[in-house]
C-alpha cells in the first residue's frame, strides 16, 4: 500500500523567497536546502506557524528548479489554512512534508504529444509537468481555463514550456469564451496525434476530460483532491471511490495512491 520509497519522504523548513500575486492566487517561491527530488503531480503538506488551523494543508508542487533549489507553490486562498499560508512573508520559514504521493506518469509514458488540461487553480501542478515535458523534448499542448482572467493560473510559465497554450474563460475576459472543456472540442482537429492527457481541476473538468480521452482513444490522468490529515497514507482519511471496487476494497487514498490517478481507475464525483 505504501507508494514512494521510504527515503523519499522529507520533513523540512524552507524559506519564503518571494510572495507575489498571480490573479486571485499567490505564487510563493521557497528556497529549499533539503535534497528533495519531486516529480510533477506530487504535493507537499504545508504548515505555517501561528496558524489557527491544526492540520497542514496539501498543496501541489507547482514548479521546481532543481539547480537553484527553488520550489513554487500557487495558492488560492479559499479558507483559513490557505489564507494563512498564502500570506507568508518573504524571509519566513514554512514547514513542509513531502514530496508526497504519486505524480503524473513520466514524460516517456505520456508520449510524444501530451495534452494538458487545467481548470482554475488546478493548473498549478501542470506548470511543473509542462516544464519536465519540454525538457524531455516533447512540450505539451496546453489548455487552461477559469471563470475569469483573474483566476487563470500559471499562464506565463505554461506559455514558456508548451508547444501551444490555449486560454479559456467563462466570461470571455481572457482567451476564448466558454468552459475550457468545451473550448477543447472546438480545437479537436488540432489535437490529432496526441498521445495522452494530463489534467487537473474540478470534478466536472475531469469528467469532461475522461470523455475526451475515450473519444481520442488515449490514456488520461487526473490529479484529485480530498481533505487530508496525514498526507502519507496512514490515516485513510482521503478516500476516493474506485471505479471498479472489488475484494472488499472500495476506496483508494488520494495522498498515497494518488493524487494522480488514471481517470478510469477512480469514480469522478
Amino acid at each position: 500500500m505504501s507508494s514512494a520509497t521510504d527515503a523519499d519522504l522529507h520533513l523540512f523548513e524552507a524559506r519564503v523567497a518571494h510572495n507575489a500575486p498571480e490573479g486571485t492566487a499567490r505564487r510563493l517561491t521557497l528556497a529549499v536546502d533539503e535534497p528533495i527530488d519531486p516529480n510533477p503531480g506530487q504535493f507537499l503538506q504545508v504548515g505555517r506557524s501561528g496558524s489557527e488551523t491544526y492540520l497542514k494543508r496539501p498543496l501541489s508542487i507547482s514548479d521546481w528548479d532543481a539547480a537553484r533549489g527553488l520550489l513554487e507553490l500557487l495558492i488560492l486562498p479559499v479558507g483559513r489554512g490557505t489564507r494563512h499560508i498564502a500570506s507568508a512573508r518573504p524571509g519566513e520559514m514554512l514547514t513542509l512534508l513531502g514530496p508526497l504521493g504519486r505524480g503524473f506518469p513520466s514524460p516517456d509514458e505520456l508520449g510524444a504529444a501530451p495534452l494538458l488540461v487545467g481548470g482554475g487553480i488546478g493548473s498549478a501542478p501542470l506548470v511543473f509537468l509542462a516544464r519536465r515535458l519540454a525538457a524531455s523534448g516533447n512540450p505539451p499542448t496546453t489548455f487552461i481555463g477559469a471563470s475569469d482572467g483573474q483566476r487563470l493560473a500559471g499562464e506565463k510559465s505554461l506559455a514558456g514550456c508548451s508547444r501551444r497554450l490555449v486560454l479559456a474563460t467563462e466570461d470571455g475576459s481572457r482567451g476564448e469564451i466558454g468552459m475550457v472543456t468545451s473550448v477543447i472540442w472546438e480545437h479537436l482537429d488540432g489535437l490529432e496525434g496526441i498521445t495522452s492527457i494530463a489534467a487537473c481541476g474540478p470534478a466536472g473538468l475531469l469528467e469532461a476530460v475522461k470523455i475526451l480521452s475515450d473519444r481520442l482513444g488515449v490514456p488520461a490522468f487526473g490529479s484529485f483532491e480530498e481533505r487530508m490529515a496525514c498526507g502519507v497514507g496512514a490515516c485513510l482519511g482521503c478516500a476516493i471511490p474506485m471505479a471498479k471496487p472489488g475484494d472488499g476494497k472500495k476506496y483508494l487514498r488520494v495522498c498515497a495512491d494518488g493524487p494522480v490517478f488514471a481517470l478510469e481507475e477512480v469514480a469522478i464525483s
Partner: protein, 300 residues
C-alpha cells in the same frame, strides 16, 4: 543520567511509554524515515476485522479547533492480509506490535483473535469496542458493560495474548465499563477512543462527513482523556494505556501521573510528524527527575 525510558505495561516491557495509536500510523511504515516504528514502545496497527471492510464514503475527515473529526469506518484489508503483508515487515523492527481488533459481532472479534493467537509477531490485542463510525459493533459494544464482558470472555477463550480493551468516553460513567472489563478478565485498558461529534457545511447546509457523525481526536479532547484515565485508575487495578490529544512530553507525564503506564499518540503526528521523536527525546529529562515513572502520582 538515567535515559532508560523503559516501562512495564501489563505483561509488556516497553522500551519507552510512547505508543502509536490505532488508525493514525497505518501499519507502521507510512511515515518512514521521519517516524520509524521503533520510535515507539509499541505500535498499534489499524483496526482489523475478519473480512476486509471497505470503510465509509468520503468526506471522512474534518479539521476542528485543536483537533479533527474522522469517520474512516474502519477500512481495512482483513486479518489475513494483515498477517501476510504487514506483520512480517513490522516484526523486523524493534518495537512491540499490538493489533486493534474490530468486529460487527462477537464472532467477528473472536475470529480475528483466533487467527492472531499463534502469531509471534503480535504482542497483544486491543479490542476496539469504541469506534463511533460503524453501524454495528464498535461503540455499541463499548457502551454496555454486559456486552464488553461477554466479548472479553469469548475472546479470552481463543487466545492467550494480553487483551487490552479500548473504551469509549461516550458513556455516562466510564468506571462502570472499566470495572466490567476488569472482572471479565481484561489484562489492560486503553483510554480513550474518540468523542462523538459532527460538523456542518453552512454553504450546503449538510453534515460534512458522509457518515454524518465522526470521532473527535486531538488536543481538544485531552482534558477528557486525562479525566477518564484518572477515573479508571481509581476504579480498577488494570494497567492503562492513556491517549487522546497527546502532543508533548509533558502530556505523556500528565497521563502517567493520572495512572497510565503507556501513553498513545495519534492525531498530533498529523499536525507535526516530528512530535513523537521530540517527545521521546524530551522524556529523558523528565525520566531523570524520578526514581521510577510516577504512575498514578496524581492520586496521592
Amino acid at each position: 543520567m538515567k535515559t532508560d525510558l523503559s516501562i512495564r505495561f501489563g505483561e509488556l516491557e516497553l522500551a519507552n511509554p510512547l505508543v502509536a495509536v490505532s488508525g493514525t500510523f497505518g501499519y507502521g511504515f507510512d511515515y518512514e524515515p521521519i517516524i520509524p516504528p521503533e520510535t515507539f514502545g509499541a505500535v498499534v496497527v489499524k483496526g482489523t476485522s475478519l473480512e476486509p471492510w471497505p470503510g465509509n464514503a468520503p468526506p471522512r475527515i474534518v479539521e476542528t479547533p485543536s483537533g479533527m473529526l474522522n469517520a474512516i469506518g474502519l477500512e481495512n484489508p482483513g486479518v489475513d492480509v494483515l498477517i501476510e503483508e504487514y506483520l512480517p515487515r513490522l516484526a523486523e523492527r524493534d518495537t512491540k506490535v499490538i493489533v486493534n481488533v474490530v468486529g460487527r459481532t462477537v464472532d467477528g472479534y473472536v475470529g480475528v483473535a483466533e487467527k492472531l493467537d499463534q502469531r509471534p509477531e503480535v504482542h497483544a490485542l486491543e479490542l476496539n469496542v469504541s469506534c463511533p463510525n460503524v453501524d454495528a459493533g464498535g461503540m455499541s459494544f463499548g457502551t454496555s458493560p454486559e456486552a464488553v464482558a461477554e466479548l472479553i470472555g469469548a475472546t479470552r477463550r481463543v487466545t492467550q495474548k494480553p487483551l487490552i480493551v479500548k473504551l469509549t468516553p461516550n458513556v455516562t460513567d466510564i468506571t462502570v465499563v472499566a470495572r466490567a472489563a476488569e472482572e471479565a478478565g481484561a489484562d489492560a485498558l486503553s483510554l480513550i477512543n474518540t468523542l462523538l461529534g459532527m460538523a456542518i457545511d453552512t454553504e450546503t447546509g449538510r453534515p460534512i462527513l458522509a457518515n454524518v457523525v465522526g470521532g473527535l481526536s486531538g488536543p481538544a479532547i485531552r482534558p477528557v482523556a486525562l479525566r477518564c484515565v484518572y477515573q479508571a485508575r481509581a476504579a480498577t487495578n488494570l494497567p492503562i494505556m492513556g491517549l487522546g490529544g497527546v502532543s508533548s512530553a509533558e502530556d505523556v507525564v500528565a497521563f502517567i501521573m493520572a495512572g497510565a503506564s503507556a501513553v498513545g499518540i495519534g492525531t498530533a503526528m498529523f499536525a507535526d510528524p516530528r512530535t513523537p521523536g521530540r517527545i521521546v527525546e524530551e522524556l529523558k529529562e523528565y525520566r531523570s527527575r524520578y526514581d521510577e515513572w510516577p504512575i498514578g502520582r496524581a492520586h496521592q
